[in-house]
């Protein structure tokens, strides 16, 4: 017990002293939060529309007034308007000559134009109705029935980022930290003492888990304070998903360490794995937008389910039994992988493949790390 506590304390101290480590695990996720927050989290800003007309404007002005989300700006000439659109000073342009409407879009804004074109069609329809003195016969009332009242895409991203922070911390706890300790011979020296191997594993693991929790917590805090997001937290579920994500991730890290031959490539392989999961789990790119084959892959990834679980824990969506089962499964996998590979990890003498490289280091000068 004492041994375990001293390992714990040493690892914590090491972590806080190692500024680079600190930076990556804590500041990095925060950077993402801010980045995404600014890109997608701010309350919808007004769409800037440029306007030029060669005909009386009362009709169209009334129409445009019906769309409060538009910020309309007049331009003295068609050419000026075109330039403004091309330079993205306005989001799109309207040219009205009394009987026809021309909408101008910037070629380069391939993604945004989808939304702008929809906006344009609504304006056109509204103009048509007003001209005929009619009103739209069918009113479509959009009702949000999700769990969280004021949900935005950012509300969906944040739990995903938290899940990623936990998974990243877990994978690198084993593939990164343990592997580098083994490589640097620190592991061997520690195991020469009466310290039991499991205590070491547990000690390092606990610290990295806490780091993961901290990282995820800071992400949430950032979202709450800077962007004023509101979630309805379920602490029990939050804790559950945090634990199984971390456990499962550490299992993944153990798997990666077992497969990677060189100590350095364990960390690199871990990074690749984490990045791939990021892209395919519906955390950055909405699931529906992935091609069917990739969606299939994404659904199989633990990151996807952990992100969904986190969303449920933060009250963004309804929790499903699928997520809970996935969580339990992932956690169980992690535990068994750790037990299996953990034994090999903390016994470097027993022909651990990575040590072939380690032992071959020659006495002559520093070799390439």
């Amino acid at each position: 017990m004492r041994a375990f506590l001293s390992v714990l304390r040493a690892q914590f101290t090491l972590f806080f002293r190692d500024r680079l480590d600190l930076f990556f695990t804590l500041v990095f996720p925060l950077t993402f939060v801010f980045l995404f927050g600014f890109l997608w989290g701010s309350p919808g800003r007004a769409v800037r529309v440029g306007f030029y007309s060669t005909a009386p404007v009362d009709l169209i002005s009334q129409v445009l007034a019906d769309f409060p989300e538009l910020a309309v700006r007049d331009f003295p000439s068609a050419q000026d308007l075109e330039n403004a659109v091309a330079r993205r000073i306005v989001d799109f342009g309207i040219v009205w000559d009394g009987s026809s409407l021309v909408f101008l879009f910037d070629r380069g804004r391939v993604q945004d134009n989808v939304g702008f074109e929809g906006q344009a069609r609504r304006i056109a329809r509204s103009l048509e109705l007003r001209r005929a003195g009619a009103t739209a016969p069918i009113q479509a009332e959009k009702l949000h029935v999700g769990k969280l009242q004021a949900a935005t895409w950012f509300h969906y991203i944040v739990p995903g980022l938290m899940a990623m922070a936990l998974i990243q911390a877990g994978v690198f706890a084993v593939a990164g930290r343990m592997a580098s300790m083994r490589e640097r011979g620190v592991l061997r020296r520690m195991l020469a003492t009466p310290l039991p191997g499991w205590a070491l594993l547990l000690g390092v693991g606990s610290v990295r888990l806490s780091v993961g929790f901290l990282s995820a917590g800071l992400t949430l805090l950032g979202a709450l304070t800077v962007f004023g997001l509101a979630f309805s937290l379920h602490p029990g579920w939050l804790f559950f998903y945090a634990v199984v994500s971390s456990l499962g991730a550490m299992g993944l890290g153990a798997l990666v360490s077992a497969v990677a031959r060189k100590p350095g490539s364990a960390a690199a392989a871990g990074m690749i794995l984490v990045q791939a999961m990021l892209f395919l789990s519906g955390i950055y790119i909405p699931f529906e937008f992935l091609p069917p084959a990739l969606r299939l892959v994404g659904r199989a990834l633990p990151a996807h389910h952990m992100a969904q679980g986190m969303r449920a824990a933060l009250g963004v969506i309804e929790g499903t039994s699928a997520s809970v089962c996935a969580g339990l499964g992932f956690g169980a996998f992690g535990l068994s992988a750790l037990l299996l590979f953990g034994r090999a990890l903390v016994r470097p003498e027993r022909g651990w493949p990575g040590d072939r490289y380690h032992l071959r280091r020659t006495p002559r000068g520093p070799s390439r790390p």
Partner: protein, 303 residues
């Protein structure tokens, strides 16, 4: 013979540490010159100053007949350097490394020739990361010989090598001398300095404490022989009393400095008989540079 390198009062400090503390020597062309001393004596610092890797704090250097303030590209073009610490790109092949280094000199020999010379011909296509320590050392030597240097600097050229590889390198160096190249090497290997060199400077704590041809240095002991034998530690002081100022202890062995072999041996055996001591593992040997160093500093070359 003309000198090719002359150093006067070379100094290099690192804070309070006087790594090189007023070193002076001449190196004659076409000879093998050895800087002999224990680890930390300042040998590497000295040679790296001469190679242009470090700047001296004081002192003068004359190289190839001219005084130089800075070892620049024109000097380096005529030198060959084997560093003690250094590496090659792990993902290059042996021949590629040589070709790369060859491009750094105005003129150079064919890589394949050199590979044969250092015995790496069959490893020409091997990646550096797959070479053993000894093979990397030989590759480094090959790069040092690329430009057929007039003056070759070797810093601990055979450290970490097995005896066979060491002999091989000694052969190469002796061939170079025969061809008229000059070799400047640093070593803490007594045998290397003794067997190989024409001139030895013994260095300790940043200073030259003795210099001369190896035989001359040794002969300062006079026509001496050393008798070594096993002796239990507690008898050592008795032995010292019996043979004042001629006895040295080396672990479980005692070393007696004798000048008149016959008389001293008789005295030794009677001393042993008087005390009922059996002298085991008795050997006779000639003095070597280790003994020279020991007598000068009271310490060994290798600790």
């Amino acid at each position: 013979m003309a000198w090719i390198l002359r150093v006067r009062d070379l100094q290099k400090f690192y804070g309070p540490v006087r790594a090189v503390d007023g070193v002076s020597f001449d190196v004659s062309a076409g000879t093998i010159f050895a800087l002999l001393g224990p680890n930390g004596a300042g040998k590497t610092t000295t040679v790296e100053i001469l190679e242009g890797l470090r700047t001296p704090d004081a002192g003068e250097i004359w190289l190839f007949g001219e005084k130089v303030d800075r070892i620049g590209p024109s000097q380096k073009a005529r030198m060959g350097v084997l560093l003690q610490e250094g590496a090659f790109e792990p993902y290059l092949r042996v021949r590629e490394v040589l070709a790369l280094f060859a491009a750094f000199f105005p003129r150079s020999a064919e890589p394949d020739e050199l590979l044969s010379l250092v015995g790496l011909r069959d490893k020409a296509r091997a990646l550096v990361k797959n070479l053993s320590g000894g093979q990397k050392q030989r590759l480094a030597l090959a790069t040092a010989l690329l430009n057929d240097p007039e003056l070759l600097f070797l810093d601990e050229p055979t450290a970490g090598l097995d005896p066979q590889a060491r002999r091989h390198i000694w052969d190469i160096l002796q061939n170079l001398r025969a061809r008229g190249n000059t070799v400047f090497l640093t070593t803490h290997h007594m045998e290397e300095a003794e067997t190989l060199s024409d001139w030895v400077c013994i260095m300790d704590h940043g200073r030259i404490i003795a210099e001369g041809g190896p035989k001359d240095l040794i002969s300062r002991f006079g026509p001496a022989t050393f008798v070594e034998f096993e002796l239990p530690g507690e008898l050592f002081s008795a032995l010292s009393a019996g043979f004042p100022e001629r006895v040295r202890q080396d672990g479980e062995r005692a070393i007696l400095h004798v000048e008149d072999l016959g008389a001293d041996m008789a005295a030794l055996f009677s001393w042993a008989a008087e005390r009922g001591v059996t002298l085991a593992n008795v050997t006779l040997r000639q003095p070597n540079l280790e003994d020279v160093f020991l007598s000068l500093t009271g310490r060994r070359l290798r600790d």
